[in-house]
Amino acid sequence: TQLLEQSPQFLSIQEGENLTVYCNSSSVFSSLQWYRQEPGEGPVLLVTVVTGGEVKKLKRLTFQFGDARKDSSLHITAAQPGDTGLYLCAGGGTQGGSEKLVFGKGMKLTVNP
């Protein structure tokens, strides 16, 4: 069974602080996706990284895919209350086809004003 371990699992910070979320696995993935989920809603894709070492930026969010394509990180700069939510990483492309994703358990972020 392939696993994606996310850390930390919970984080409560003040507005303006920086944070990094980690997503680690012993398996190699062809892609790594990051989703954000708000209460009462389904996850929504933030970004997909596909190349080892790739870095993508989405406003204040920076995503990195590890060189060996086994891990990824999400860094948020100057967090805002609107960043509050559950952040999920998901690995794809290793289970006999690209149609299934392996999800981490998520990191619940609370940004206090």
């Binding site: 062809s30 892609s31 389904g42 894709l45 997909t48 492309g93 299934k100 981490g104």
Partner: protein, 115 residues
Amino acid sequence: NAGVTQTPKFRVLKTGQSMTLLCAQDMNHEYMYWYRQDPGMGLRLIHYSVGEGTTAKGEVPDGYNVSRLKKQNFLLGLESAAPSQTSVYFCASSAPTGNGEEPQHFGDGTRLSIL
């Protein structure tokens, strides 16, 4: 843009009752999925389908059945509900790209309680 629509949004069942959760997508996606989300467990794949008329088991298929009679619909059935099936159920769909990059589009979930 409806995207992925799940019905019902909430349901309370008694142990042993049966029900069907409905998922409809209007994006002409080939692939569809059913997940359950439990506290501390993340999203776990129940069943999935790679096309009309085909289904396959995911990580936690026991106690569930699915059908994909039409491309746009994916049904999840509970034949005899058990309290352990209390969860939030999410349907998702995606278009195959062949390289593991296709994003999944999720519905807003069905909150199911089994008493």
